[in-house]
C-alpha cells in the first residue's frame, strides 16, 4: 500500500510538471502567421509553372511593375510612372527611386528588361506581347521602353497581369536563366524574404519581413497600393488532412486556412474564435471541355447539343452544395469581370433536353458512347459532379460512359489526341480560377488556335483574329465589343461549357486583422494579436 501511495505521489508530481511544460510548449509567436495553403509548394520558379501556389510565392518575395486595384484599374507598383508615345507604339517606364533587392543591390531597368523577356517567352499573354514588340531598350538605370510594331494597349494589360504567370521582376542574373532550367535563387524586392534554410518542399515555406522593402505610400487596394508588412514573418504549411487543418485552427496552432472544404464549414461556422472569409474573386468556374478532334464532338451540332443539355444549377449543387457559395453564370469570363456578357449564352445556364435531342438529330449522332473522365480524387475538378453531367447528357439524348480515373491520369490522358479506343477521350472537366478567366487574352480556355490550344484543341481562326484585335485595342469600349464577339463565337463553336461559379471560403482566427480582399491570398497589411 505504501508503494502504491508513493507511486501515486510520483505520478501526480509528474503530471503537474508535464502540464506546466505543456503550457510553456504551446505558447505561440504572436508575430508569425502560420497559414495552411491549398497546394504544396515545391518549385521556386513562377515563370516555368502556372501553379497558383508558386504565383502566390511570387507575390510574397517579388514585386511587379504594375498592379490592378480593387476596381480593376491599372496602377503603378514598382513603376513610378509610364509614358505612351503619341503614335501609341512606345511605352516608357520609370522605376521608383531607391528600390532594392533583398541582397542590398539596387533594382535597375536592366533587371526589368531581362525579367520581361524571360516571362514573355513562356506566358500566353506575354507571348502575344512579344510577337508585337520590335525591341526593349534601356534608357537609363531606372528607365526602359517597350517599342511595338503597331499601336497597341497590350503593354499595360500584360504587365499588370496578376495570375499565372505574372510578370514578376527578378534580378538580371537570375532572369537570364534559360526557361529550360528552373530558378533556384530567391532574391526578390518584394515585401517578404524567402528563408531558404527553412524551405521543405511540399511541407513548409517560411518568409520573414523584408525590412528593406520600399512600400508604396497609397493605401492598399486590390493588389495595388502599399504592401506594408505588419508581422515578423509568415509560415506556409501544407496539411494533407482537412480534418487536421480544422482541428489545428480551432486549437490555435494555425492562424489561417486558405481553402476550406464546403462540407466541413459547419464545424467552424459556430466557433467564436474563427472568422470565415468568403471570397468571390478567389473563386472560379468549373468547366467542361469537349475534344474537337475526334467524333462525335468534331461535329459542331453535336457540341451544341451537349451545351444545351447542361443545367448549371444542378451541377453546382453537386459540386458545392450550399447556394451561399455558388451561383450560375452565363459568361465565359465569369460574372465579375469588366468583360462579362451574356451574349450568345441563351442555352448555357438552363438545360433544354429537347433542343439537345433536336441538335443531335440534325448532327447525325449515331449513338456512339461519349467517354467522360471522372477524377475521383479531385471532387472540384469533376469528381463530385461528373455523374450529374452524365445524367444530363443522357436526358439530352447522348449515350454516355463515365470512366473513373485519378487526376494524374486525367491530365495525362487529356493530352492525347488519339481516338477513344486508343486511350483518347471525349469530355474532360476541370476548374479555373477567375484570375485566369477575366479577359480574352488571359482566358486560355477560349483560345482556338488548333494544335497550340489548350486540350480539346478547338480551331477557330475568327476567334484568334478577334483575340489579336483585342490585344492591340487601346480603348476599353473597343475591348468590350471584341470580348462580346469572342464569347458569341466561343459559345457557338462550344470551345468550353462553363458550369457555374463558386466562391472560396477561407478561415482565419480572429486574432488576424486587416486581411485584404484580393484575388489571391496576400499577407501584407495583416496584424496579429494574441488570442
Amino acid at each position: 500500500m505504501e508503494h502504491i501511495t508513493k507511486l501515486f505521489k510520483l505520478g501526480a508530481t509528474g503530471a503537474i510538471a508535464v502540464s506546466l511544460a505543456f503550457a510553456a510548449g504551446t505558447t505561440t509567436n504572436a508575430e508569425t502567421i502560420t497559414a495552411v495553403m491549398r497546394q504544396p509548394m515545391r518549385t521556386l520558379d513562377p515563370v516555368i509553372t502556372t501553379a497558383y501556389i508558386v504565383r502566390n510565392y511570387g507575390y510574397m518575395i517579388y514585386d511587379t511593375l504594375l498592379s490592378l486595384d480593387a476596381k480593376g484599374d491599372i496602377k503603378p507598383q514598382m513603376a513610378e510612372k509610364w509614358q505612351v508615345s503619341e503614335d501609341g507604339k512606345t511605352y516608357t517606364f520609370t522605376l521608383r527611386p531607391g528600390l532594392k533587392w533583398d541582397d542590398g543591390s539596387p533594382v535597375t531597368a536592366a533587371d526589368c528588361i531581362a525579367s520581361i523577356k524571360r516571362w514573355s517567352s513562356t506566358d500566353s499573354v506575354g507571348q502575344i506581347m512579344a510577337s508585337l514588340l520590335t525591341s526593349i531598350d534601356q534608357v537609363d538605370d531606372r528607365t526602359f521602353s517597350l517599342n511595338f510594331k503597331v499601336r497597341t494597349g497590350i503593354a499595360l494589360q500584360a504587365l499588370s497581369k496578376y495570375s499565372s504567370k505574372a510578370p514578376f521582376i527578378m534580378p538580371k542574373k537570375v532572369a537570364e536563366t534559360p526557361t529550360s532550367k528552373a530558378i533556384t535563387e530567391s532574391i526578390g524586392s518584394g515585401p517578404f524574404k524567402f528563408v531558404k534554410s527553412e524551405f521543405k518542399p511540399g511541407i513548409q515555406t517560411v518568409y520573414v519581413k523584408n525590412k528593406d522593402y520600399m512600400s508604396r505610400t497609397e493605401p492598399p487596394s486590390g493588389l495595388a497600393g502599399g504592401h506594408v508588412v505588419k508581422v515578423d514573418g509568415v509560415r506556409w504549411i501544407t496539411l494533407p488532412d482537412a480534418m487536421t487543418s480544422i482541428n489545428a485552427i480551432k486549437s490555435g496552432e494555425v492562424d489561417f486556412i486558405e481553402l476550406l472544404p464546403y462540407d466541413l464549414l459547419p464545424i467552424l461556422e459556430q466557433d467564436k474564435n474563427i472568422q470565415l472569409i468568403v471570397s468571390k474573386s478567389q473563386g472560379g468556374m468549373p468547366l467542361m471541355r469537349l475534344n474537337h478532334l475526334i467524333p462525335p464532338f468534331n461535329n459542331k451540332k453535336i457540341r451544341q447539343a451537349a451545351l444545351a443539355a447542361i443545367d448549371q444549377k444542378e451541377i453546382m449543387q453537386a459540386d458545392v452544395g450550399s447556394p451561399k457559395y455558388y451561383s450560375t453564370c452565363a459568361s465565359v469570363y465569369g460574372c465579375g469581370s469588366p468583360f462579362t456578357t451574356t451574349a450568345g449564352a441563351e442555352h448555357l445556364v438552363k438545360a433544354d433536353p429537347e433542343l439537345s435531342k433536336k441538335l443531335l438529330k440534325e448532327g447525325g449522332y449515331d449513338g456512339t458512347p461519349v467517354v467522360i473522365m471522372r477524377p475521383t480524387d479531385y471532387p472540384n475538378g469533376g469528381g463530385s459532379f461528373v455523374p450529374v453531367i452524365a445524367q444530363q447528357l443522357r436526358k439530352g439524348g447522348f449515350n454516355v460512359q463515365i470512366q473513373a480515373v485519378d487526376w494524374q491520369t486525367e491530365i495525362q490522358r487529356r493530352a492525347t489526341r488519339k481516338p477513344v479506343s486508343q486511350g483518347g477521350w471525349n469530355i474532360a472537366t476541370t476548374t479555373l480560377s477567375f484570375a485566369d478567366l477575366g479577359d480574352p487574352l488571359s482566358n486560355y480556355s477560349i483560345a482556338a488556335n488548333g494544335e497550340k490550344a489548350w486540350f480539346g484543341w478547338p480551331n477557330n481562326p475568327q476567334i484568334e483574329e478577334l483575340r489579336h484585335q483585342f490585344a492591340v485595342a487601346t480603348d476599353l469600349a473597343d475591348q468590350k465589343r471584341i470580348a462580346t464577339e469572342i464569347q458569341k463565337l466561343a459559345l457557338d463553336d462550344v470551345e468550353i461549357i462553363p458550369l457555374g461559379e463558386f466562391s472560396v471560403v477561407s478561415a482565419a482566427r480572429k486574432s488576424l486583422n486587416g486581411i485584404l480582399k484580393t484575388p489571391l491570398p496576400v499577407f501584407w497589411n495583416i496584424t496579429k494579436t494574441k488570442d
Binding site: T43, S164, T244, E253, V405, Q408, Q412, Y444, F455
Partner: protein, 313 residues
Amino acid sequence: MLTIIVKRLIATIPVLVVVAVVIFAALRLTPGDPAVIVAGEGATLQQIQQIHHDMGLDKPVLVQFAVWAGDMLKGDFGDSLISGLPVSTMILNRAGPTIAITTYTVLLTLLISIPVGLISASRRGKFIDKLVSGASVLGFSVPVFITAYILIFLFSMKLGWFPVQGYEPISKGLWPHFQHLILPVTAQCTIYIALVTRFVRSGIIDTLNEDYIRTARSKGLAERSVLIRHALGNAAVPILTIIGISITMLIGGVVVTETVFNIPGLGRLVVEAIQTKDFTIIQAVIVLFSVFDIAVNLIVDILYTVVDPRIRN
C-alpha cells in the same frame, strides 16, 4: 554465424536488382507525368513536351534505367524532378520523423506487449486474460486514423495537452520533441501492441503445456522463472517473427499517422512523390525501404540462431 550472414548478404543482391527493375518499370508503365505537374493547369501540350524534354524523360527507357542504376551504384540518388533538390538531402530531411516514430513504436510495443502477453497467458481464462484478449482484438481492429482522431479529440481539443499536428526534432528540445510525438506514437503502436500481445500470449500458452515446463515446475522453480526463462525462451522464435514482420509493416504503414498528424516523414514524402510522379524520389525511397526490410529480416534470422541453438546447428 559469419557464413550465414555473408550468405544472406549475397542473397540480397538479386532481391535489390529485382526491386529496382520492378519499381522503375512500374513507374514508367503507370499513367502520370511529372512534366504535367510542373507545367500547371494552363500549360499547352508544347510547353509540357518542352519540360518533359528538359527532365530527360523523352530518352529511351533503357537509357534512363542505365543512368539511374549507374548513379545509384555510386550512391547518387539524383535530383527531384519537381523541386530540383538532391534526393539524398530530401530523404535525410524526412528520415528523422519516421525513424523517431518507428523507434518509439517498436520500443513501446516490446515494453508493453511482452509483459502483458506473459501475464495474460499465465492467468489464462481469468478476468485479466479476458480483458487483455478483448483489448487486443479491439486494438488491432480499429484503424490507426480512427484511434488518431479520438486521441486528438480528447488530448488536443478537449484537454489541450498536446498539439494537433506537427513535428519538432529532438534538437529543438526533448520536451517539444515528445510533446509532438506522444499522440502519433500512441496511435501507431496500439495496433502493434495488440498484435504482438496476442502472439506472445498464444506462444506462451503453447509452451506451458510442454513437458519441460511441467518438469521445471516440479523441480520447484518460481513461476516467474518458469515463465520468463523456460516458456518465453522457447516461444521466442514465433514472437521474433511477428516482431520482424511488424517492423517492416510499420515502415510502410507509418504514412497514415504522418498524414493525420502532419508529420513530414518518409511515408509522406513517398506519397507526395507518387502524387506528383517524382520518379527519382519514389525509386530511391522504395529501394531504401527494401534495404531496410532485408536488414530487419537478416537481424531476425540472426536472432533465431541466438535464441534457438538448433537453428544454428
